[in-house]
């Protein structure tokens, strides 16, 4: 199609006159030829060429517009949208804006101008999500979700829905309900390279933290780097620490800390901070891990430069591209405390419906279709993500099914009842970095984080 557009300006001229709809689709090349063709068309039209009048206005067909940032899904969406139009006659038009920061800026600016499309997605924290809802940009899908004994809602993993759900009595005072349709799910776990462990004389992956630490010297003796992860991206440090906070002190105490009732200088928190020091002291951490972006970490693990990694379910796709022969397994992070280990997971991405959309009903219908079994299976297959729809999990590789199995052990800050201040999260993550590079001790960091926390609490009370 691209080629014919360029090579055949003449045919464009015919199109221009006979089929207004087509020129509408291919407007951009029309742009280049417009300078020439515009004049020609002018003359021809003036000289009385008959054109079917009103052909444009009769095509006031429903067109749903959608924005997303998912570069890897552009083609898949185009294909699904084509199928949908064939089936129902409703046109859906997706536009991709990427990378995610450019997308976020676009969505926020469009929210101010009131030009959000019918379908869009949000990146970021629950707090921002709630602002979009309060500003009236997001439709509450609760009624639709609960229709026919929750037929729609029950399709999904419960964690996938939870990310865009507001419960009654939520801290943001948002009207309770489900505000998004999940597309896929993910969670973040530990991965280990079976061959490298064997090389170091280790038979089984570690179950406990102590077993894990004991492997450090063994791996080092065999000349193998221990652990790699994208800890140059703050949220991955946060995620790892959060897993162990749940494991060491239990969910309630973590929430109490966020509420400001438990101090970060509590021994349990210092123990969490200390884990990073222990990993460092055991020589586990790949040198330079604190400034490593996840893509570099993935490249190192797939090229067998490290025995362990901490990464999300998407990594299966990455590793298969970079090293199809990689022999690896997935496991929960080795346990340290007595409480259950909770890993981060939930919806990888969700679509929201614009509350001011002119085609709200049609948009919801389309999203219902998009999240149905067949479409979810297709999306999962093409994009190699885990589907949000439970019935769409077909044949999976052992590693991927390991990720699916853990879905019920997941949690995510976005589904917690309370949320930490961004400043505190920053001080927390940066503090752990400082521990890893040996700049500060766990106790010092605990004190620093608590100081920031108290300052923010005071500001809030004012």
């Amino acid at each position: 199609m691209q080629k014919s557009k360029i090579q055949n300006p003449k045919s464009k001229l015919n199109l221009n006159i006979k089929s207004p709809k087509k020129i509408f689709n291919n407007l951009s090349l029309g742009f280049y030829y417009s300078f020439v063709i515009g004049v020609l068309a002018f003359v021809i039209l003036l000289s009385g060429c008959s054109v079917q009048e009103g052909s444009v206005s009769s095509e006031a067909k429903v067109t749903i517009r959608g924005w997303h940032w998912m570069t890897d899904r552009e083609e898949a969406f185009d294909e699904l949208v084509r199928q949908y139009e064939e089936k129902t006659g409703v046109r859906v038009k997706f536009e991709l804006y990427a990378p995610s920061d450019a997308y976020t800026q676009k969505v926020r600016a469009a929210a101010q101008a009131g030009t959000l499309p019918d379908i869009f997605g949000l990146l970021g924290e629950k707090r921002d999500f709630s602002s979009f809802v309060i500003a009236g940009h997001v439709a509450n899908l609760n009624e639709e979700m609960l229709k026919d004994e929750s037929a729609w809602k029950n399709r999904f993993f419960s964690r996938a829905i939870a990310v865009s759900e507001f419960l009654s009595g939520n801290e943001f005072n948002v009207e309770p309900g489900v505000y998004g349709v999940p597309l896929d799910v993910m969670n973040i776990q530990m991965l280990y390279n079976k061959d490298l462990l064997k090389e170091a004389g280790i038979r089984k992956p570690p179950k406990t933290w102590d077993q894990f630490l004991a492997m450090g010297p063994k791996l080092k003796a065999a000349g193998i780097h221990g652990f790699v992860s994208g800890w140059g991206e703050m949220w991955m440090i946060d995620c790892f620490a959060s897993n162990y906070a749940f494991n060491i002190m239990g969910e309630e105490k973590v929430m109490d800390t966020i509420r400001g009732e438990v101090s970060y200088t509590d021994t349990d928190w210092i123990e969490v901070f200390n884990l990073f020091k222990e990993m460092r002291d055991a020589g586990f951490l790949y040198s330079g891990i604190v400034t490593m972006v996840n893509k570099t970490a993935e490249q190192l693990f797939s090229n067998e430069k490290s025995a362990f990694s901490f990464n999300g379910s998407w990594c299966v796709n990455v590793y298969s591209g970079m090293n199809p022969d990689l022999n690896y397994g997935v496991m929960l992070p080795p346990k340290k405390g007595k409480f259950p280990m909770k890993i981060w997971g939930g919806a990888g991405s969700s679509f929201l419906v614009n509350n001011r959309s002119l085609f709200k009903k049609e948009t919801i219908e389309f999203l219902k279709w998009l999240s149905d079994d067949a479409q979810q299976t297709y999306l999962a297959e093409v994009t190699k993500n885990l589907p949000a729809n439970k019935n769409s999990i077909g044949k999976l590789s052992p590693v991927l099914s390991g990720f699916v199995k853990a879905m019920e052990d997941t949690t995510h800050p976005n589904i917690w009842p309370v949320h930490e201040f961004p400043r505190v999260i920053e001080a927390f993550d940066k503090g752990i970095q400082a521990i890893i590079i040996g700049e500060k001790s766990p106790a010092e960091i605990a004190l620093e984080v608590q100081k920031v926390k108290e300052k923010e609490l005071k500001k809030k009370r004012r």
């Binding site: 951009s28 054109v51 009103g54 570069t71 800026q105 998407w314 591209g321």
Partner: protein, 314 residues
């Protein structure tokens, strides 16, 4: 005689040192380029495991894949379109303004010039929201205007033609020119500053000569100032062309449809949320670097040709 040959030896030695120095720096510059081209010929599996600069079996297909998958044909045209318009716009507008600030007297000229200078310094991080709202408001006005005049136009032209052209203006012409004006604004202050520095060095005698020949102010700008500032114009051309060529944030903010997007939009496809297709990305980047290199090759000659112009300066 002896001292003379010693002199020559020292001169030769100096040259050798210069060459070695130049070559070392040049080598560090070429290496990343070679690495990029080399990586573009590997596969996703070998791009980091194969440590040779150029793979034994180059995957030339990557270039074809990058071109088609990134839909480069349309983006290339768009980028050339934007770059041409923005660079021409900037040269025209900034050289007029710089000439005004440098050679003409009018109240407030200093104030205005320092305003441009200050604008160059203050980055406006939050400006994308007001900018978007602004462009959107202008679009609304335009749509209203078109809706008002279209019934009258329909008396003269067939209805479908009017509808097509209004749709065309709304969806193609308007966003494209809005983007062009935004980008002109981005490069304007700096270009005015650079050009004014060069115009300030222009000798008065030339101006007087031109005046005697019957040139008015515009004529002096056209026939004296512009040719003399050729090196500076070459510099701002390269600078702004590179800037527009690599821009993507503003493009995605102002432009809404794929078919109006510039080249960088094609490269984004290879940098997925989780998977980066390095060989295709590198192939795409190599292809996008070539036009800029060509622009540089063309214009850097003018920087040097300044020699003839320079003979008059001072």
């Amino acid at each position: 005689m002896k001292s003379n040959s010693k002199h020559i030896i020292i001169k030769r030695l100096k040259l050798v040192v210069i060459y070695i120095f130049l070559s070392i720096v040049a080598l560090t510059c070429v290496f990343p380029l070679l690495w990029m081209v080399g990586s573009s010929l590997k596969t996703q599996a070998t791009v980091f495991s194969d440590t040779s600069l150029f793979p034994a079996q180059p995957e030339w297909r990557n270039y074809y894949l990058a071109w088609t998958k990134g839909e480069f044909s349309i983006y290339f045209l768009n980028s050339i379109f934007y770059t041409t318009f923005v660079v021409f716009g900037i040269i025209l507008i900034s050289s007029l303004a710089a000439f005004g600030f440098s050679r003409l007297k009018f109240p407030g000229s200093n104030f205005l010039f320092y305003m441009f200078l200050a604008a160059m310094m203050i980055p406006l991080p939050g400006s994308f929201v007001p900018l978007y709202v602004l462009v959107n408001n202008i679009r609304k006005l335009l749509i209203e205007f078109l809706a008002n005049i279209s019934p009258q136009l329909m008396n003269f032209f067939p209805a479908s033609f009017v509808q097509q052209s209004t749709a065309f203006i709304q969806h193609q012409a308007f966003p494209r020119f809005a983007y062009i004006f935004c980008m002109i604004n981005v490069g304007l202050s700096l270009s005015i500053y650079i050009l004014k520095t060069f115009f300030d060095k222009m000798p008065k005698e030339l101006e007087d000569a031109a005046r005697i020949d019957g040139c008015n102010k515009l004529g002096i700008w056209r026939h004296v100032a512009i040719p003399l500032a050729r090196p500076a114009i070459a510099v701002i051309t390269i600078f702004n062309a590179l800037n527009v060529w690599n821009e993507y944030i503003l493009a995605q903010l102002i432009l809404s449809t794929k078919d109006t997007m510039p080249l960088q939009r094609g490269l984004i496809v290879f940098q997925g949320m989780h998977v980066t297709d390095y060989p295709l990305l590198m192939a795409g980047m190599t292809m996008t670097a070539i036009p800029i290199l060509i622009i540089y090759l063309i214009f850097q000659k003018h920087i040097i040709k300044g020699i003839t112009a320079g003979a008059v300066v001072g």
